[in-house]
Symmetry: C2
Subunit: 278 residues, 2 copies
Amino acid sequence: MNRPDLFNQIKKKDSYLCVGLDTDINKIPRHLLVHKDPIFEFNKQIIDATHDLCIAYKPNIAFYEALGPKGWESLQKTVEYIPKECFSIADAKRGDIGNTSSLYARAFFKEMNFDSITVAPYMGEDSVTPFLEFKDKWVILLAHTSNPGSSDFQVLRTDRGNLLYEDVILNSQKWSTPDNMMYVVGATHPDKMGGIRKLAPHHFFLVPGIGAQGGSLEEISKSGLNSECGLIVNSARTIIYASADKDFAAEARREAMKPPAKGCLAPGCSCPVALSAS
Amino acid sequence: MNRPDLFNQIKKKDSYLCVGLDTDINKIPRHLLVHKDPIFEFNKQIIDATHDLCIAYKPNIAFYEALGPKGWESLQKTVEYIPKECFSIADAKRGDIGNTSSLYARAFFKEMNFDSITVAPYMGEDSVTPFLEFKDKWVILLAHTSNPGSSDFQVLRTDRGNLLYEDVILNSQKWSTPDNMMYVVGATHPDKMGGIRKLAPHHFFLVPGIGAQGGSLEEISKSGLNSECGLIVNSARTIIYASADKDFAAEARREAMKPPAKGCLAPGCSCPVALSAS
């Protein structure tokens, strides 16, 4: 998917919501276990109930990998089922030496046809660029993540005068463009969002950390939105586990109808998302 | 596998060689393609030909993942086939927020019973510690990798006064011990090995970068060996693709008989590996 198509979808749906498919066999409603592939059945019903409200789906690959070869089959069926107009994100946090990253790129972009993949920056340029060689596919590079451990290394100040996550954002712009690169920026550091937006004014940010992790949608929207929205806000557990009963899909839909699926919350913001919501 | 068992094996076999199973369907001998699972058949014959010479096997997970669910079946069969006395390494470079890293740990340590997994440090403590909760299993944390991109972020000097990879080694020792943590230290930076050994005198280092990537075994052995060997030196392409014909297993064995499978090369070194080789 290219950038104009992504932005058009955001405007059309008045939404910048990504639904995280962190699908756990121990948490899905029990009545689904009679199905041959309960994980896919759960995802299918969640997608059916939410695809007009959200602009992206993000399967967290660990949840599928933990189930062995069967899990990969559920993942493959899920990505094929995601409607073509929705942006698909493989939350895989891969990254390895060049020839190995090429194989990961092939796995997620060709075998499974994801639009994008999350990548860890620690191994540098040649671990990231193989993913950038695919037209209309995206790298979503870890910058400032939402978890407690983000304070261990990401905020160290380096001899380039920046914090490490700032170096990651600045340096990676030498190998990529806002048309094939996004950054992971956690909602749990709202005070940092404005500064990060200045470093990458035109990029999309994938924002985890709303909901269960405690981030505020309003705060990150205020300083993170740009003229083409620029944010994709992930919500997983709050939506997909809104109910553990037979009404789980309807309850997921009810949760997904809240912002960011009903426009922008930034006070006085003039972005298209805000305008179309007002 | 625990540390004494690993060291005993090193002494018994007079070897610190790890064979990298970077098994590529496009590179294995053509006559294997008649088998139902050519990838596993190749690995099986390589393991049969080398298991008395090496102390570890390291499947590079990308090569299996690129093949979809079928690839995961080949991987599962491979890890089950690796002899119990050999140390198994899932070269996966995973790492995510705590609840997700727990799932990766389950996938590689419980579902597949690997002894160890490579983990990227960028997301910090809570992305690593879930892997440390498994008894006699190991994290092999990326420190100073062998690829060109290792100079992009890993060697930045931080406000703690260290290079970033040094911070990774020092900080991670607060959450782990030499009995459950190793570090990836590339052979392509031989001048750094001595300094890294000082930071982690008792840890094992997994050393990629010999052979195709240009690192020197002699140089890294000289400054990297400790009193319990402390090095696991990976060699993949040089060994497993020594021949593309029917003699591939015999040729792999011939390659695997060279150092580090025939003892230590460090001049004047008094480590058990060197002593048993002299």
